[in-house]
Structures are given as structure tokens and as C-alpha cells.
Symmetry: C2
Subunit: 417 residues, 2 copies
């Protein structure tokens, strides 16, 4: 189906807030097989809202409208809809009862406004504290969603995408979707690896969404029966897993930081870090997880060679013979961090983030890692492209991925991208 | 003036790329005193581009169009414009000469396309390697800018905003703008501090843009003569500086990381860090600056109490008596980091990022800092609101700001927000 998206709010047209909800909607609708012909962002003026809505519904098969559903005076979507589509607002008693029971109602009687919706509105999550409804106009669905990003996302995924999947033609069309998070392969390579499979299967669609140093691969299958959809989906899932193997680190919505943390906790192990070029970024990633103090002891950011020697016991000879960015130095850093922090496991990273410091033998983007446990110490060398920030990000995330691979007994890749 | 913004590209309507250029344009146009009535995002279809453009130019006083100016087959803006506005494309010989001289032309003769523009197009930066032109249609300016964010931003600031400032009415209208970067005060408080001044001065406009833990305050003055604009601007600048004082850390487009780094370099000092709740984030911020190895030696991420004792010489008694999150522990951490790293200056941070770990006396968001130099060691306690990520970000940036204040001989605030 062809759709349009309308985002409403003066905070968007004045550039005070970046519109990320339309982007979220577009990317998920696209993955589900729809096409977005146009996205509009307009201010809180009822006349503008009305005419934008009428124009969109004439051109498109469906329309998503976000924002302007709240209780304050600049929330004007419902009035605009009532007027433009000739659907006068009526009181929805079941909503009003809920509002009357809430604590805030006494202080803010204006909340009653939330119970007045255009006639014909079908509440998307009845009984729950989340605004959002669907109207059918000239046989086409219009979804009105809150502008608050997390509420809008919830309704998009739980209500809008499933409703659209079965809309319209009489054949029952079913959609099943899954996201595979991939690390260690660049997006163009993943596309190339999966392209011939995708081309030979018209029923499924594969989407690619780079996300910092990760790539999120979506598999969407649209079948005409439950059994057929399941079969196609299973085949698609198996193929993607066979081709991308252990570069897929998640299928359940977890982050790399969560996965590494869960494995450390399960194996009852502690970890310490020795960072040079990432300057603390890898430590920080680990500590974004609440409760990471269960397994993360700490780390040493040895940015100068002096500190590599003093705090991590890296030998002067090693620095002279192999350089600060070398497998040899990385190994001594990892062992040094393990000893200094008394951890079961230690990871080190040392590299040239640029823009300065590169040489023909070791260009900017050369990064060495080592992992030490009580038995052995293994080092790896990578080469990453990109500016300073990108090299630092890729290095930190690769460090996390190496911990994942070590903890799961997987091979290390040694390449870069 | 009332304007509209049109962003063109299938990568936007398919949700592959988040549209940040329209946001940038809207926020700067708004600050410059214009109003954006609508923003549209459309795919690479010439008919859609043409009709969107015609509709916008009928309604608005000016239009900004971004994207679709490149040399590939899906760059269709120029053709769409030529057709919709009846301005057939013609060869611009001065552009074509430049292209013929470039190395890439031999391999990519399709680059010639860049020299064919709608007749009447006025190149925005003639002689430079950046696409972008202005067309006047029915007396109204339409600006066509590249979709590449940094190129689009350059042309918006250098060409579009100045051209619009003097457009239209015959009175010479001048616009002068400046951004003040503020740290340590929450946005609503800054608004309150400046609101009465803004209300009493119709010629100037103050904008507020929260940016991570910072707030960027823009001052825009629109006068009818050069002298009047200058006078109003000077008055506005003086007032803002008087009211916000040393919470303004930059007026020249530098980051807090740059400013701290420059001061350390000028004073020929080295710095080391001891981090607990920020888990390396502060170290990482310092190392985002290329060349930071000149002054940043490194740091110790002492996430566990064991490492605070082992690597930073924090006393068991101090931890027991005052707790890990206390001015006393912060002081020992700062002294310990200074000694361990052999730095001139050391900063420590220890706090409760949450969601767990809070107590009635020390709720989530309590964060202590200390700065040690060769003479003394000073500690401060703050309280920050927000989730784990926000508390970590505010803590790391406050650490940087404390270094700035120490290096510039300014007072420390001790509050939080």
C-alpha cells in the first residue's frame, strides 16, 4: 500500500525538536512492504492540519498522523479532523470515566479534552493510558498517534503495522517480521551476501539499517495464509542465519553491552579493561548497563606510553621494538590490566584513531586488541576506515564483540571495515 | 517571512536515513525570525517533486529544497524543476569547465549533468565544489541545496540566511546572529532569566536549543540599518553575558572539550582522571579531540570499591565512614589519580547513576567531584535528575566544566539540574 505520514507540532516546524517519529514510521512501514510517497511536517494550525490531511487521503491508501492529541491548548488535531473530515467530536464515556478516576483530573479538569474524539474513531488500545485512534474515511484508514516517541512507536508496532497487513483486499495477508542485529560486517557486504537469496524469493523482503557500528537486518514475510507465511519466514530465517552466522549477535532486542554482561554474569566472571585509543569509551559502554558493577571491576585508560609502562607494566623494549600499536603491546596491556585489577578476564585496545599518527606500515585506523584470561592471551589486529570518531566507535564496539566471541567460544574475525 | 522546506530522496521516505537537514534549516530560519509553515519529505519522483514545489511556492514567501542535485540517475531535482516551473535546463559553461578539469571526469562522464541547471539559476558559491543555486519564481526565492548535511549547512548559514535577511521590502533589513553555549543551568531557568529582557526588546529574538547537557542560546537582531542592528546587538550581547556570566563557555563555535584542551596546552599542564559512575565517559570526551595526548595522560576507571582502594589508594575507613559517593572519597580518588598518573591536575567523579543504589540521604543522581593540583584538593557535590544515561552524561560534562572553571580561575557552582 502507498501511505503518507503527517507530523504535527510547532516544536517541529520551529526546529526545536528533531522529527524522529516520522523516520521510525517510514522505516518500519517500508520494511513491512509499504511505500511512503510523502511525509509532511506542519505546525499547530487547524486549517493547515485539515488541508494536509485531506490532500494526503486523496492521494494515498493510508495516512499516519502523529502529534497534537494531548490535553493542552495547542493540541488541535482532533478539532482539525472533526472539521476537515466532517466528523464532529463526541464524548467517549469509557475514556472519560478513566480520566475522572485519575488523580490528575482534580488539578487539571482540562484532561476531559482527551475523551472528546471525532465520531467514528476506533481507540487503538482501549482501557490503556495511551492516546491514539483510527478513522476510516472513504474506505481508507487514517491512524492518529501521539507525538511522544515511545508511545507512537508502541502503537506503530502493536497496532498500525498489523492492521495495515490485513487491510483491503479480501485475501488474508499476513506479515511476520524479525530484526537480526549484526556486528563485524559492513552493510554493503551484508547486502551482497543476501541479495541473490532475496531476489529469488518475492514473498520476503530484507531491510538493512546501519546503527552506529552495527547493522540491523530485518526480514519481513508477507503471505496469504498463516502456514505459508510461517514456512517462508522459517526458510528466510534459516538462510540469514546460515549466511551471517555468528556475526548475528542478537535476535531478541538486546544490545551488545547486555549480551556481554549477561554472559559474564552467567559464567560468574569479572572483567577489566586497558584502553588507549578509545580513551574510556569501551568502559563507558559496559557501564551503560545498570548492574554492570556485578562483573565490571574497572579499567585503566593508558593514553600516554608512560602510563602504559607505569600502570600496565608494558615493557619499554616492547614499545621500542614493536610500537605502542602492536599485538605485542596489546598483549602486555591486557595482562597488565588483568593483574592490576585482579579480574578473571581483561581486554586491551591500542590503535591510531587519527587524523595524525599514521605511518605507511601502520596507517590511521590500525587497531590492536588482546584478551587475557588465566590460561592464555590472544591478540588481534584490525583496520578500520573513517574519521577519528568513527574509528573510536568501531574500536570500542569491536572490543565488546571480542568479549562476546570469547565468552561464547566463537572464532575471532580479524579484518575491519 | 513565511517559508516551506522540501527534502527530496527515497532514502528519506524509506526510513533509511533520518532527515536532520530540514531540522537544521527550520531551527536556523526560526532563529533568524522566519516562520516555517510546512516541511515536506518526498521521494525521487519528478512529478511529485514538481507538484510539491508548485504548491509550496504558491503558499509561502520562500522555499528551501534539499537533495537530488547530484550526478547519479536518481538525482532528479533539476529535471523536475525545469518541467514544473518551465525553466528548461541549460549548460552552465563555467561549471562544465571546472568539471572537465577534475580527475574524476574521465572515469565518470556523467558528471557533466552537474553543469546543466534550470535557466535563471544563480549559483550560490560560484567557483567552489559545492552544488546549490537560487531561482526566483513569481518574485519569490527558491533555494536548491545539496542533501549532504555539511554542504547544506554551509550554504544555509553562508548564503540562504543572509539573502533572506535582505529580501523583499525596500527598507534595508539586516540580521545579526550569535550563539552562546551555556553549561550548568537548565533550559527553563535560562529562559526565565532572559525572558523579561527579551519581552522588552521587540527587535531581538532569543532562541534556546538544549544540546545534550548544554544549552545553546541564540541572539538574533533584525534592524533596518547597519548602525541600529549593531547597537541592538551589542546591547543584547552585553545583557546576555551579564545575566549568564561564566556559565557561557563559548561564543566561537568551540566545544567544552576543545576549550579545556586549549587551556591545558596553554598552561602547559597535564591531566589525569579517576572515574566511577561515568565509567570512562569523561576520559572519552577528552580524547575526542585530536592531539589530546599532548595534555591527557590517562585515567583510572575504578568502578569497584576494590579498585578504588588498590589503584587510587582510597582508604577503607573513608569508604566505611563516608561511603563511596562522598566528597571525602572523591578527594582521595583525585589525589590517588594524580599520584598514580604523575599528572599536574587530576579530577575525580563518583556518584549514583541509578536506577539502583540510591538511599534517602544519597538519592540516585548524587554525584561528587574533586580536583587536585599540587597545592590543594577541592570537592563538590551535585544532584542531577534524569535516567542513568542522562546522569552519566551530565556528570561527565560537569567534570569537564569543573576543569574549565579551575583552569580559568572561576568559581565552582555546586547545584545540579
Amino acid at each position: 500500500m502507498i501511505g503518507e505520514i503527517i507530523a504535527i507540532g510547532d516544536e517541529l516546524t520551529s526546529g526545536r525538536i528533531l522529527n524522529s517519529t516520522s523516520y521510525f514510521a517510514a522505516s518500519h512501514l517500508y520494511s513491512a512492504g509499504h511505500e511512503i510517497a510523502a511525509m509532511a511536517t506542519i505546525g499547530d494550525q487547524p486549517a493547515t492540519i485539515g488541508s494536509a490531511l485531506k490532500r494526503s487521503i486523496e492521494r494515498a491508501d493510508f495516512v499516519i498522523v502523529t502529534g497534537g492529541l494531548g490535553a493542552t491548548t495547542d493540541d488541535l488535531t482532533n478539532e482539525a479532523v472533526a472539521h476537515a473530515l466532517d466528523r464532529p467530536t463526541i464524548l467517549y464515556p469509557e475514556i472519560f470515566e478513566k480520566i475522572k478516576q485519575s488523580k490528575s483530573f482534580k488539578e487539571m479538569p482540562s484532561l476531559e479534552k482527551l475523551a472528546w474524539l471525532p465520531s467514528g474513531a476506533e481507540i487503538l488500545k482501549p482501557g490503556e493510558k495511551i492516546a491514539g485512534y483510527m478513522l476510516v474515511y472513504q474506505g481508507k484508514p487514517i491512524f492518529f498517534l501521539p507525538g511522544v516517541p515511545h508511545q507512537m512507536r508502541e502503537l506503530m508496532l502493536d497496532r498500525v503495522i498489523p492492521r495495515l497487513a490485513t487491510w483491503g483486499d479480501n485475501t488474508v495477508s499476513l506479515v511476520k517480521q524479525k530484526i537480526f542485529k549484526v556486528f563485524g560486517l559492513p552493510e554493503p557486504l551484508i547486502q551482497e551476501m543476501l541479495s541473490s537469496f532475496e531476489k529469488s524469493n518475492q514473498e520476503l523482503r530484507i531491510g538493512y539499517y546501519p546503527n552506529a557500528a552495527e547493522v540491523h537486518v530485518s526480514l519481513t514475510v508477507r503471505g496469504e495464509s498463516h502456514a505459508e507465511t510461517e514456512k517462508q519466514f522459517q526458510q528466510g530465517e534459516n538462510t540469514i542465519k546460515n549466511i551471517l552466522g555468528c556475526c548475528i549477535f542478537d535476535e531478541e532486542g538486546l544490545t551488545l553491552e547486555n549480551i556481554v554482561g549477561n554472559s559474564l554474569r552467567e559464567q560468574n566472571m569479572t572483567v577489566a579493561l586497558a584502553e588507549s585509543c578509545t580513551g574510556g569509551l569501551l568502559s563507558h559502554h559496559i557501564t551503560t548497563v545498570s548492574g554492570s558493577s556485578d562483573y565490571f571491576l574497572g579499567g585503566i585508560v593508558a593514553y600516554s606510553n608512560g602510563l602504559k609502562k607505569k600502570l600496565l607494566q608494558v615493557k619499554q623494549l616492547t614499545l621500542e621494538k614493536y610500537g605502542a600499536v602492536s599485538r605485542e603491546t596489546a598483549k602486555e596491556m591486557a595482562r597488565g590490566a588483568r593483574d592490576a585489577c585482579g579480574a578473571d578476564l581483561a581486554l586491551s585496545v591500542t590503535g591510531i584513531a587519527g587524523p595524525g599518527g599514521g605511518t605507511p606500515e601502520k596507517p590511521v585506523g590500525t587497531v590492536c586488541f588482546a584478551i587475557a584470561d588465566k590460561e592464555k592471551c590472544v591478540a588481534m589486529q584490525y583496520h578500520f576506515s573513517g574519521n577519528r570518531k568513527i574509528v573510536q566507535t568501531k574500536s570500542a564496539m569491536t572490543g565488546l564483540d571480542l568479549l562476546r566471541r570469547h565468552l561464547h567460544g566463537l572464532d575471532f574475525l580479524e579484518s575491519g571495515w
